[in-house]
Amino acid sequence: MKFIVSAIITASLAFSLGLFLPWWSVAIAAFLSGFFIPQQKILAFLSAFIGVFVFWGGLAFYISFANNHILAQKIAMLIIKNNNPFMLIALTALIGGITAGITAFTARSMALLFKK
């Protein structure tokens, strides 16, 4: 339960901060949730990873679907030499997820330093 809540909190924070901050706001969101939500480090990683993976992947899919995948096909061709839009959506989700996951892991490790 805490795992899911943590994922949702990370994603919501990332979304809100992303409204006015650059892309690394996902790291800030993950840092905050990782630091303040007590759980195992690996679970902190996973929950932040999944939260942002779903957020970035989901939003990218939503945008791309509404766009008829016009742009995703072109960008996918340009940077991964494959015009499958879902590859680009997956790459997007992965980059957001990993950034958040590792940051949450770091934040949890840091929080544990202050714990007696």
Partner: protein, 812 residues
């Protein structure tokens, strides 16, 4: 342990964010690039996008409403002209910002700032031909005229309003790809845009190659191979027109025989960034006596490099004073080709040589002094600072002489052991307010207004076509063209004194023109403007064949409708092949051919002379003729490391028609004496080798061979943004001038009825965003030769269902 874990994960974390946030490790900062809230996803425009917008700004005086129709064409209804230009600037920026900036960066020689050191030579070239110098001169003149300055200021303010309110997520995708930010727009950038067009259309020049060819061939042979007066010339202004005798008769300087025509050496510099010699256009206007409606029809299709985003942006501008519709250039205010309530106007390129090189003698490597009129004169040194992405900027010193900038000297092409220096004299450097012409044309009501408008235009020389609802049709070749003595400017000229300088310009009223001719039509297609009876020396690079087909058709046509005119713009007939094919077929030695070679010969023989997309004969014909051209001229002309240029194709055709023993036929490098039969047959055999390969790759059909492609401005670096493999007919010398990546960049047919019956199409779309449906949605219509009906919206049409969105501007 927990410290170790933290430290390791911290550094891993920092490294990850660094890598994803910089372009120093991966070619893209993938974090920001793929961010869903900031990166490229924000450029993926929903297919049901909403463009409605309300803007309040102190930059406008009155209320302006922009109605965007289903093709995303804006219909701007403004209470005054300057507000209209503010809004046009805003719209250009909103839909085409990256392109506007990229093209003006290119004009100014600033591409290295964006793409890095691979563009340094391009940038240096732009600086050294004086593009910025030219733009500054033009801007000075434009800003002297209060109305022009106001128009430019308003336009610039509109562009900048958009840029200032642009969030990082809305940045055009090319900025995200290349990793830079837009800068403020300025009036100078508009001037730079005009100069870039001037270079495209009046920057083609063959002085170096001609100088070399003269040296290699001798004067008599040079004149045979590089004539610009074909037997089949169909000039813009018909043969037999009487011209006034010039008041000034010019003669070559005394020294010309020894210093100019009998030059001792060849020149090893080549102009690397020559504009495409195919840059040209068709235009014609037929009078009411030849049309079904009884009203004139005006047609224009400018042939340029086909690019995405397109060079053109369609727009309607309605003010209390006028109502104009047509295509505009993102980068300058106004309608560039189009029509208003009273008249229509269009352009083709004059193709005249307005660019000469003078050999300069510097005192020393400092380039501070050069020898002129028996003394050492100071140059003006302009230090060019060329910014280069990811590394430090480089400096280039360009010396300015009385002629203009010294484009080529030791410091530029260092791979060549060249001691000489060459200064450029070019009309593009002269100050003039060419924008004024468009501002006046947009509001012109009749022929006199058109005449008053075009006087402001000095370059690039254009055939300016005109038709009015009152029934007039007209055409002027307009610009300031240098007065030349015979042969002046064909070759590099001595620059050590003033005797070879231009002595003035041809008086404007003596530019060739035609008003309501008895033939019932006027037309131009980049051919020589007049025959040899025109009393001025007018060298240039001229088309021969398109005008023949156009004039042949227009002469025969009666009861013309807009559909007839569309069909003529899409006409694929190859009049060159009509004359050239008999030579190939009559002189080939059929008994010596292999089965394969005979097959290609049959394809040529059975071809219907139309360059249609599915035809194979056209590819075989072109390969064969080109091979013959090389067979006949290469041995006489090609010398190691000496730049020359191929003679025009009419030269060979007309020479062979006159004389099948034309003196260049023999290959001087072989002991045998080749005759025309031998050369035509060997040309087919050589061509067959290439044709066999093409056939194996399934590229023998013209459309497949040609593979018409609309490239993105970043060319091969952004191929997914291009449209490739468009199957089209046409080609070089064909009315439908569509080549591989070049051709009709806007096709327009305007019937001057009330209401105006107008059609147009361009191979692109109104949006410059590769993530928009509107990026390339016109291409399919364009490629099959169809048109859109241009909606000349009226003030009472505001509830018409063609309107999809509205952007309104109100004073704050």
């Amino acid at each position: 342990m927990k410290y170790a874990i933290f430290i390791i994960s911290f550094f891993l974390n920092a490294a990850l964010i660094y890598v994803l946030g910089t372009r120093n490790v991966l070619p893209l900062a993938l974090g920001s690039f793929l961010s869903v809230q900031e990166g490229i996803w924000q450029n993926a425009e929903a297919t049901d996008v909403d463009f409605n917008l309300d803007i309040k700004t102190s930059s406008v005086l009155g209320k302006t409403d922009v109605y965007l129709d289903e093709r995303l064409v804006p219909h701007i209804f403004a209470e005054n002209e300057n507000d209209a230009f503010f809004v046009q600037g805003f719209l250009h920026a909103k839909f085409r910002l990256w392109q506007m900036e990229f093209q003006t960066h290119a004009a100014a020689g600033r591409i290295s700032e964006i793409v890095g050191d691979k563009a340094i030579n391009f940038d240096r070239n732009q600086r050294r031909v004086g593009m910025v110098f030219a733009a500054e001169n033009a801007l000075g003149e434009m800003e002297k005229d209060p109305a022009t300055k106001q128009a430019m200021d308003s336009y610039t303010a509109g562009v900048n309003y958009y840029i200032r309110h642009l969030s990082s997520s809305e940045l055009p995708i090319e900025y995200k790809l290349l990793g830079y930010q837009p800068e403020e727009w300025t009036n100078l950038k508009s001037a730079l845009f005009i100069k870039q067009m001037t270079n495209t259309l009046a920057g083609y020049d063959r002085d170096f190659e001609f100088t070399n060819a003269l040296k290699i061939l001798g004067e008599e042979n040079f004149r045979i191979l590089y004539s610009d007066l074909p037997d089949s010339l169909y000039p813009v202004i018909p043969k037999g027109t009487a011209y006034a005798t010039p008041e000034i008769a010019l003669a070559p300087p005394q020294s010309a025989d020894s210093l100019y025509f009998m030059r001792k050496d060849t020149i090893h510099f080549t102009e690397d960034f020559k504009p495409d010699p195919s840059n040209g256009s068709n235009n014609w206007a037929v009078s009411g006596i030849k049309t079904t409606s009884g009203k004139p029809i005006l047609c224009n299709d400018p042939h340029l490099n086909l690019t995405l985003p397109s060079i053109w942006y369609e727009v309607q501008i309605h003010t209390p004073d006028y109502n104009a519709y047509g295509v505009s250039f993102p980068g300058i205010p106004g309608v560039v080709i189009g029509f208003n309530d009273s008249i229509a106007f269009g352009f083709t390129n004059a193709g005249r040589d307005v660019k000469d090189y003078y050999e300069i003698r510097f005192k020393d490597n400092s380039k501070e002094e050069y020898f002129f009129n028996n003394e050492w004169r100071k140059t003006e040194l302009r230090i060019e600072d060329i910014g280069v992405k990811n590394t430090k900027s480089i400096k280039d010193t360009v010396a300015y002489t009385v002629f203009g900038p010294v484009t080529y000297d030791k410091s530029f092409k260092t791979d060549l052991t060249e001691e000489k220096a060459y200064a450029l004299r070019w009309v593009a450097h002269d100050s003039s307010n060419v924008l004024k012409m468009w501002l006046l044309l947009n509001r012109a009501k009749n022929y006199d207004d058109y005449l008053a408008a075009i006087r402001h235009f000095n370059a690039p020389g254009q055939n300016m076509i005109f038709a009015s609802k009152s029934g007039d049709i007209a055409l002027w070749q307009q610009a300031t063209f240098p007065l030349r003595w015979k042969d002046q400017g064909l070759f590099v000229m001595p620059g050590t004194d003033s005797s070879y300088m231009w002595k003035g310009y041809i008086p404007l009223e003596q530019n060739p023109s035609s008003l309501n001719p008895a033939s019932g039509f006027v037309s131009s297609a980049n051919q020589r403007v007049a025959d040899s009876s025109y009393p001025y020396f007018i060298p240039g690079s001229y088309e021969v064949y398109r005008p023949i087909t156009i004039n042949r058709n227009l002469t025969e046509m009666h009861n013309i409708t807009v559909d007839d005119m569309k069909a003529l713009q899409n006409n694929n007939y190859n009049v060159f092949a009509e004359e050239a094919r008999p030579i190939l077929l009559n002189y080939v030695n059929r008994s010596s051919l292999s089965t394969e070679e005979s097959k290609y010969l049959d394809l040529v023989e059975q071809w219907d002379l139309y360059n249609n997309a599915n035809d194979k004969g056209v590819v075989c014909f072109i390969a064969w003729w080109d091979s013959l051209h090389a067979n006949i001229f290469n041995d006489d002309l090609i010398r190691d490391k000496i730049p020359v240029i191929k003679p025009e194709k009419f030269v060979l055709l007309e020479a062979l028609k006159r004389d099948s023993t034309f003196k260049f036929i023999d290959n001087i490098n072989t002991p045998e004496k080749e005759d025309l039969v031998a050369q035509v047959t060997s040309a087919l055999k050589k061509a067959s080798l290439m044709l066999t390969e093409l056939e194996r790759d399934n590229k023998l059909e013209w459309g497949k061979y040609k593979n018409t492609t609309v490239y993105h401005l970043l060319k091969n670096n952004a191929m997914p943004f291009a449209r490739t493999g468009i199957s089209t007919g046409g080609g070089n010398g064909i009315i439908n001038a569509t080549q591989h990546d070049h051709g009709p960049s806007w096709k327009m047919v305007i019937e001057m009825t009330t209401p105006t019956n107008a059609y147009g199409v361009y191979p692109g779309g109104q949006s410059g965003n590769p993530g928009s449906y509107f990026y390339d949605n016109f291409i399919d219509t364009w490629s099959i030769g169809e048109y859109y009906k241009l909606w000349f919206m009226g003030t009472t049409d505001t509830t018409d269902n063609r309107i999809k969105w509205k952007i309104s501007f109100k004073p704050a």
